[in-house]
Amino acid sequence: MLVSAALGLLALFFFFPMIWMVLSSFKTNASIFSTPFAPPTSVDFARWSEAWEVGNIGQYAINSTITTLVSVTAILLLGAGAAFAFSRYRFRGRGAFMALFALGLLLPLQSYFIAQSTLFTQLDITDTRLALIIPYTAMGLPLAVYLLKVYLDALPEELFDAARIDGAGDWRVFRELALPLLRPGLATVAIFSALSAWNEFLLALLYIQDDALKTIPTGLLAFSTRYVTDYSLLFAALSIVTIPMIVIYVVFNRQIVEGITAGSVK
């Protein structure tokens, strides 16, 4: 009983700010300021649609979606390829290259983002989606390669020998044998890297100034600095961005949990 009560209280503590956020989005600025705890007098979504339009949230969501989708796809393909090479083949330099990717697991963003930004400026790709897709892919690769390699290592050699005997070349083995067997691993990597890319902020802040290309994090920041005191509008914008994520989590709850479980256990 006590445990359930404790759990309930904790859940309330964690969820309360978000409840407050949504409720406040239905109030007027004056009443948010003077009576923060008072419930809204009416549930009026007017501010929500205003936030959507004025705040350009649709555009930011599109940008986030494109950037994330392309990055995750690249991470999966490139990562699977590299993991396949490391796992199933022995070749000169294998150890060294693996060490490079392992380094990537520990390497903090600070160690390279400065030079990365000057590089991108000189290659003139700042203010393009590529300026985010390339780093997101690169940053997601070490974990992807590591996780996928672990999955591949677990597969018995006989499986591949059998395919070889059947006359399959390297590419076919990869495409028709390894990839399908990697599906759970790919799902895990997809979840991790999608979450990372979707929420990434520092690079998006530094590389994208054009409002039309901003992703949700930087777009929301720009919005919040422009409408700093239109509290109900801001709460509405925050709600619009938050609620879909809650819905996604509830719907895909099992897969997400399994993904994280699998990832962390390995």
């Binding site: 759990l7 904790l10 859940a11 700010p17 390497l107 983002f113 030079a115 902020f201 962390s264």
Partner: protein
């Protein structure tokens, strides 16, 4: 497996290596190079040897930023890992309903900017949840300008971090608990062990390796923190929440001092890598290392 063509492994590896090399490895090397120069990003580059490093070591703001980030990491070890462990223990006792997991895990999924903007309202001195809540229960004298008071700002930011990530660690520990063979737990229960004893003597020790990894995650993640600090306080008040990354970003992207910023970045990297390596060493010595 033997490749059908000798070049195959390289072909599989090449795209990933190319992207990773171009976007991470090359800039890392370049950053080291820049740290020995004085440069504003587009003009002339002057070689200055170890000057930037000397300046960095002597820079009180830089030194203080490390103190702040270490304090932050210690706080998050409690607020994220320890709390996560406790929450996992609670949930494991009574497998929670979906709403519980949703409530505690949702913050993990949110972009930090959303969290920061939301909590800057929660901490708002005039109408924010915290101060209004204190007033509602008659504790006005505890009211503060949470993000503006140098004695509370860092703690306030750490608390937000805890709110976000406790759920993440809870998930990891919960999954680890579920892996524990139930016979061990049941046997202890039959012996009359209470829940707390079960937790502290059986469950936690059995997931010791997972705990170690999460501690490493928390520490290295803490050094890289940026989003939350930038949006909530950006180093304020009066530099009380300046951490290495926010200072770095200011130096390079506000003052245009690429060389100096790069030197600080190299120092920070060395520390993070050092921590990681020491960690791996301790872990390797303490237990058998699983071949990767």
């Amino acid at each position: 497996m033997k490749p059908t063509r000798a070049i195959s492994p390289y072909l599989f590896l090449a795209p990933a290596l190319a992207v990773f090399g171009l976007a991470v490895l090359l800039p890392m090397v370049l950053t080291i190079g820049y740290s020995f120069t004085e440069w504003n990003g587009f003009g002339a580059m002057t070689f200055v040897g170890l000057d930037n490093y000397a300046t960095a070591i002597g820079d009180p703001t830089f030194r203080d930023s490390f103190i702040h980030v270490v304090l932050y990491i210690v706080a998050t070890l409690f607020l994220e890992v320890l709390v996560g462990l406790g929450l996992a223990g609670l949930v494991h006792m009574r497998p929670g309903r979906l709403w519980f997991r949703v409530a505690i895990f949702t913050p993990v999924m949110l972009p930090m900017v959303v969290v920061a903007v939301l909590w800057s309202f929660v901490y708002n001195p005039d109408f924010g949840l915290v101060n209004a809540g204190l007033a509602a229960v008659g504790l006005e004298e505890l009211q503060r300008v949470w993000l503006g008071d140098t004695s509370t700002a860092l703690l306030a930011v750490s608390l937000v971090s805890g709110w976000v990530f406790a759920g993440f660690y809870m998930m990891i520990f919960y999954a680890a608990f579920r892996q524990i063979p139930s016979e061990a737990v049941e046997a202890a229960r039959l012996d009359g062990a209470g829940e707390w004893a079960l937790f502290s003597r059986i469950k936690v020790p059995m997931i010791r390796s997972v705990v170690w990894v999460t501690v490493l995650l928390c520490v290295t993640g803490g050094f890289q923190g940026f989003d939350l600090f930038f949006v909530l306080t950006n180093g304020g008040p009066y530099g009380a929440t300046e951490i290495p990354t926010t200072y770095l970003v200011k130096t390079v992207f506000r003052n245009g001092d690429v060389g100096y910023g790069s030197a600080m970045a190299v120092i920070l990297t060395a520390i993070v890598l050092g921590v990681g390596l020491v960690y791996a060493r301790i872990q390797a010595r303490g237990r058998r290392v699983d071949p990767a």
